[in-house]
């Protein structure tokens, strides 16, 4: 936390608190219980000391005393402390989980319109993992950051006030001591460890990288006889990493040691400070014992502060990153029209991504007629996937609607209109005017970056059609030759997929995604490299199944493929290169063209 960021940090802090508003009553109740518990705990020992001193004096002097009240108080405090701790923990954790569920939902909702629009910035898996990590980090915010701070802020004055009843000097001494232990020491140790912490996290990720890299490249390392030196280098990094960690441990251990010193020395100091008033009779001996014991345990009010102050910058940094992402301009979809059945047309269409200067598609003219089967081929980077993504409505298109669609910041750019012109229409209606949900109801896509979820096979399939019946699932799995495999699995359609479940081979994933697509009751099906990773037998069978399926359902088909097997059966083949359509026609017409042949051979 550098000073220049302080006002910004404060803003982030209050924005986060603002988000937690719905949870606030629960959270405050939890804080209240925490404070009561802490205070009960502190008083328990103090009252006990007071009580036995009272009894001792009574014993030696033979005065009768009312010992029922203090004994009852001790019992009461013991119960409050124990029950309070239990209730407080239940309540604060409940509040934490509620808050986390709320925050997670909130951030996901905010993220939804941003993907895949900001594909360049949010593309990497690392970034997504960090996003998730940042949301998880907010876990700590209430329980380990906010709560300790609130507890300290409220209970420290109470403790000091109670002490002031006996001796104002002691109250001031203790206020200083509590401040030092709860705030000054943690801040000093935080600053002392800032650079080391940075070095630590750097070495930590370095170690991860080297390990992931090395284990992944184990063949190369072994073939070139460098496994020994690799192991040495890992040992070296480990040593550096642990050396840095050890220095951090030492800083923390020093913090606990000086805290320990301060706690015990201040108890002793208070005792010595109370001796003169004891002699003069300003303070009685019962209170002296009570005060000394109270001082000894009063540090419990700030015991969680070091951790809280350590985590506070972390939580704020996480929140800051999240806010930065969700504050990005969102592409606003103004489309309200429902899709009508009809041909898809690209008219003199040029498109560039919002974050790129050069257009990805240039002067595209093509049509996909109702029920037509169209293939797109081209080298990677030719713009095939962009073509497909635009049809899904992930990016607004065309210059006419630019000003109303693009975020204000980028629409003023004059070169935009140069790089975004022409239009895409479905049954004569501009794509931008169409409601996104309706569009995606009408057009279904199997992309190459498809994602298999950590869920059962049937859950994954039902993402495509949430009310699909078991028969429908079996039917599409039959079409993609997956049914035998699934039936052989002990749990069949309920088999859990993903890293925590059964792994599927590349070909099986591909087939599952085709099955998902076939479940969609769209009028246009788009397949991006559908037969990648499939063996010959499956490829042929599945392709003919797909063709039969679209014919029966009267669906249009758009395929990105290079398989000659399929190309023969297509009504139209569009050859693309560097964002342009260079030629279109059917397989027979194109075979004479050299470039076409070369493309087929190339893959």
């Amino acid at each position: 936390m550098k000073p220049i960021y302080e006002s910004h940090s404060a803003k982030v802090f209050f924005r986060l608190i603002g988000l937690l508003k719905p949870q606030l009553p629960f959270m405050l109740l939890g804080a209240l219980l925490s404070i009561i518990t802490v205070l009960a705990n502190i008083s328990l020992l103090a009252v006990s000391g007071w009580f036995i001193t009272l009894m001792a004096i009574a014993g030696t002097t033979g005065i009768t005393v009312n010992y029922f009240t203090p004994a009852a108080i001790i019992r009461f405090l013991a119960i409050v402390r124990t029950a309070g701790r239990y209730a407080e923990r239940m309540l604060t954790h409940r509040a934490t989980f509620n808050a986390l569920a709320y925050l997670r939902h909130y951030f996901y909702q905010q993220l939804e319109p941003l993907l895949p629009y900001y594909r360049i910035n949010l593309r990497s898996g690392d970034l997504l993992a960090r996003l998730q990590q940042d949301i998880d980090n907010l876990d700590n915010f209430y329980l380990r950051v906010l709560l300790p701070i609130v507890v300290a802020l409220i209970s420290v004055p109470i403790v000091c006030y109670a002490l002031a009843l006996f001796s104002p000097t002691i109250a001031w001494v203790m206020l200083a001591a509590l401040l030092i232990v709860g705030f000054v020491f943690p801040v000093i140790s935080y600053f002392a460890s800032t650079s080391l912490s940075k070095e630590k996290s750097h070495l930590e990720s370095h170690l991860t990288e080297e390990l992931v890299n090395g284990i992944g490249a184990i063949k190369t390392l072994m073939v070139y006889q460098v496994s020994i030196s690799y192991q040495r280098s890992i040992a070296r990094i480990t040593k550096q990493y642990y050396d840095v960690r050890y220095r951090l441990v030492k800083i923390n251990a020093r913090l606990s040691a000086v805290t320990f010193l301060l706690v015990h020395l201040s108890a002793l100091a208070c005792l010595l400070l109370l001796l003169p008033p004891l002699v003069t009779g300003e303070v009685d001996s019962k209170s002296l014992v009570a005060v000394v014991l109270l001082v000894l345990v009063s540090f419990e009010t700030v015991s969680s502060m070091p951790l809280a102050l350590q985590l506070l910058p972390q939580s704020l940094a996480s929140a800051d990153r999240l806010f930065a992402i969700i504050d990005k301009d969102k592409p606003n979809n103004i489309g309200v029209e429902t899709v009508k059945h009809g041909d898809i047309h690209f008219d003199d269409f040029t498109f560039s991504y919002p974050d790129k200067k050069t257009p990805s598609l240039i002067d595209i003219n093509l049509s996909i007629k109702l029920g037509e089967k169209v293939a797109v081929i081209g080298a990677s980077g030719a713009g095939k996937s962009t073509l497909v993504n635009l049809l899904m409505g992930f990016w607004p298109t065309g210059y006419t609607l630019l000003s109303s669609h693009l975020p204000a910041s980028s629409s003023s750019n004059a070169s935009e209109s140069e790089n975004n012109k022409g239009r895409i229409t479905i049954a004569g209606c501009d794509l931008n005017l169409i409601d996104r949900e309706s569009l995606r109801q009408h057009i279904a896509l199997m992309s190459q970056q498809g994602h298999i979820f950590e869920a059962s096979i049937s859950d994954n399939l039902r993402l495509a059609k949430h009310d699909a019946t078991q028969e429908e699932l079996r039917e599409v799995c039959q079409l993609v030759n997956l049914i035998d495999f699934i039936d052989e699995l002990p749990q069949g359609f309920d088999t859990w997929l993903g890293t925590s479940g059964t792994g599927l081979s590349g070909g099986q994933i591909q087939r599952l995604q085709i099955a998902q697509l076939l479940l969609r009751s769209a009028s246009v099906l788009i397949l991006d490299e559908p037969t990648k990773g499939l063996d010959r037998h499956n490829e042929e069978e599945i392709m003919s199944n797909i063709l039969a399926h679209v014919k029966q359902k009267k669906q249009s088909l758009l395929v990105i493929t290079h398989k000659p097997l399929m190309l023969e059966k297509m009504d139209k083949i569009i050859v693309m290169e560097q964002g342009k359509v260079i030629v279109q026609g059917n397989h027979k017409q194109l075979t004479s063209i050299d470039y076409y042949q070369k493309l087929l051979n190339y893959f």
């Binding site: 001792a56 013991a78 284990i215 992944g216 496994s227 480990t238 020395l265 014992v289 010959r536």
Partner: protein, 592 residues
């Protein structure tokens, strides 16, 4: 719970305890210092009690004997006493702070030493087993185990183990100190003490069972959240994003409920613990109070016992908080033990291979566990020099065949023989000295360009430059400010896929392996780079054995022999022309 897992658990616990020796006494030192700290704590409380007693009761006596003249003398005697004891108390406090500091340092350092040791042993073992093992286990999972998995042992060694020791030492020391002075208070502590572990075990067992039941579920839920982010585009395609995000709320709530279910047990256990502790302390206080009232016990002892009582239960309470560390340690250790308990590979020392080379594969059969045959009845011959191409669909056994030739995989039956010697894991490293390897995507390492070519820090600049030139990277290197010393950074950032693959080629030229094996080296490259690399490989094949798994058929037209695999069997082999005349799979693929 079956008997087998019970046995495994014992094995894991034994293994964990056995690792302590790698801390070279640091853990024992930490525990010893911590125990001394505990004993000093007893002394400290005693002195504090004495000090308070001194402060209060001379005062009482003084006020009683106000009339007597010797009151001032007692006061001053008490005052000197107070000064001495205060000073001693300060000394003890400093000692305890120092002991706490060193104990913490030793225990952490010890834990780190143990982890360093385990990491190097595990890594060594993985290199013994080779890629065949790491690939079946999953390299991502293994590197996670090597890093985070091993690191999660720290709290077990530095936290849990010392607390276990303190649980035995400190309460016992307190009992020994209390009993001779006041057996009644000692008895209260003694009676309540066993209740603590008893209840903890009782609740711990239930918590553990609950933990195991819910663990998988919790993991699934938490991975679901990452899943949603990663698959958001996919969900949008299916118009399912809003529905799924609404489900996130529900699942988060369920996640909270599930976790609360587990925490409830944990809280309940500490509730019982604290309840017992509180009741015991309250009992001690009240009983002491009444005994003081009847003059049954000295005030100083009463106060001391009262101060000791919370400390008596402290180690047990700490044990409760370390329970999680134990669970995490044990579950990481389970995976570690599984790998480290595999039998060692014995290396042969004196088996060397000399050029010229010939490799023959005869009647080789191989199957991965739980899968149908990956290779069956493979007979092949690679000799002297020339380009051999292996083609076939994915899953046809190409990679397994290559692994066999490299000695990473041994056939279940049949032989792979190099220069008359069967390849085994024992002579594998000798054999690999003569081999080179390029994978589908060049594997680059953290370090300079030159390091990546030589794969060693001791390289000859001229040789590196020559190798880079032959790989067609000379121009690229000239554009770099730091020449061959340029760091290529994490994941080969700054190099395009084609450049990275050429770097791998430079590696080959530098090492000049007699047998070069390539796995689809050009499948991710543009045509120009592909042609360049194919030409270099063909040139290299004039003097060496080169075996290439090919994806694009036009790259293998000039091969000495093309081997076609289908479902683990060699279905045809020969030159381009021979195979065209044979009119089988190859001819069909070419003619499409």
């Amino acid at each position: 719970m079956t008997k087998k897992t019970e046995h495994q658990k014992k094995q894991v616990n034994r293994w964990l305890k056995y690792q302590k020796k790698y801390a070279q006494g640091k853990l024992s030192r930490a525990i010893a210092l911590g125990s001394i700290n505990g004993i000093l704590m007893i002394l400290q409380t005693a002195m504090l009690a004495y000090l308070i007693d001194l402060a209060i009761f001379p005062n009482v006596e003084a006020s009683l004997n106000k009339a007597q003249s010797n009151g001032a003398i007692t006061d001053s005697a008490a005052f000197t006493d107070i000064t001495t004891i205060s000073l001693a108390l300060v000394a003890i406090i400093f000692c305890r702070a120092a002991l706490g500091y060193f104990s913490e340092c030793y225990s952490r350092r010890g834990a780190m030493d143990i982890k360093t040791n385990i990491r190097s042993r595990l890594l060594n073992r993985l290199f013994q087993f080779g890629p065949a093992y790491t690939e079946t286990k999953g390299s991502a999972k293994l590197s996670h185990l090597l890093h985070q998995g091993i690191d999660s042992l720290e709290d077990y060694f530095a936290g849990y183990l010392p607390v276990i020791a303190y649980c035995a030492v400190i309460p016992l020391a307190i009992l020994i100190a209390v009993f001779p002075i006041d057996w009644q208070s000692g008895l209260i502590l003694l009676v309540t003490a066993p209740m603590v572990p008893f209840f903890m075990i009782l609740i711990g067992h239930k918590a553990q069972r609950l933990n195991q039941e819910h663990w998988a579920k919790l993991q699934r839920m938490s991975s679901h959240f990452l899943d949603i982010i990663q698959g958001l585009t996919q969900l949008k395609i299916f118009n399912a994003s809003r529905r799924e995000i609404a489900a996130v709320k529900r699942i988060s709530d369920d996640y909270g409920d599930e976790t609360m279910g587990i925490l409830k047990i944990a809280f309940l256990s500490s509730f019982v613990l604290e309840f017992l502790a509180s009741i015991s302390i309250a009992l001690v206080a009240v009983i002491l109070g009444f005994r003081l009232y009847y003059g049954d016990v000295d005030y100083v002892f009463a106060l001391w016992v009262l101060l000791l009582a919370p400390e008596f239960y402290l180690p047990f309470r700490q044990l409760g908080t370390q329970y999680h560390a134990k669970m995490a340690g044990v579950s990481a250790a389970e995976d570690l033990v599984e790998i480290l308990n595999q039998p060692q590979v014995n290396y042969s020392l004196e088996e060397t291979f000399t050029a010229p080379f010939s490799i023959s594969v005869s009647q080789a059969e191989f199957a991965y566990p739980d899968r149908s045959n990956t290779l069956s009845q493979v007979n092949l011959e690679f000799s002297t020099q020339g380009l051999y191409a292996v083609i076939g669909e994915s899953g046809s056994g190409k990679s397994t065949l290559i692994d066999m030739v490299l000695g990473f995989v041994q056939p279940d039956s049949g032989h792979v023989v190099a220069n008359g010697q069967p390849l085994t894991s024992a002579n594998r490293d000798h054999w690999l000295k003569h081999c080179g390897w390029i994978s589908q995507q060049a594997q680059l390492f953290y370090g300079s360009l030159a390091f990546n070519v030589a794969l060693s820090d001791n390289y000859q600049d001229e040789l590196v430059i020559e190798a880079l030139e032959r790989a067609g990277l000379a121009n690229f290197v000239q554009t770099l400010e730091q020449d061959i010393e340029t760091e290529i950074g994490e994941n080969g950032a700054g190099l395009s896929g084609g450049q990275a693959q050429r770097l791998a080629l430079a590696r080959v030229f530098y090492h000049q392996p007699d047998v070069l094996i390539l796995d689809e080296p050009t499948s991710h490259l543009d045509q120009q780079t592909e042609q360049m690399i194919t030409a270099s490989i063909n040139a290299y094949a004039e003097n060496h054995i080169v075996i290439v798994i090919a994806h694009r058929l036009h790259t293998v037209i000039d091969a000495k022999k093309i081997i076609v695999l289908e479902q683990g069997k060699v279905i045809e082999s020969g030159t381009h022309q021979e195979l065209l005349t044979h009119d089988g799979y190859y001819a069909q693929q070419v003619n499409l």
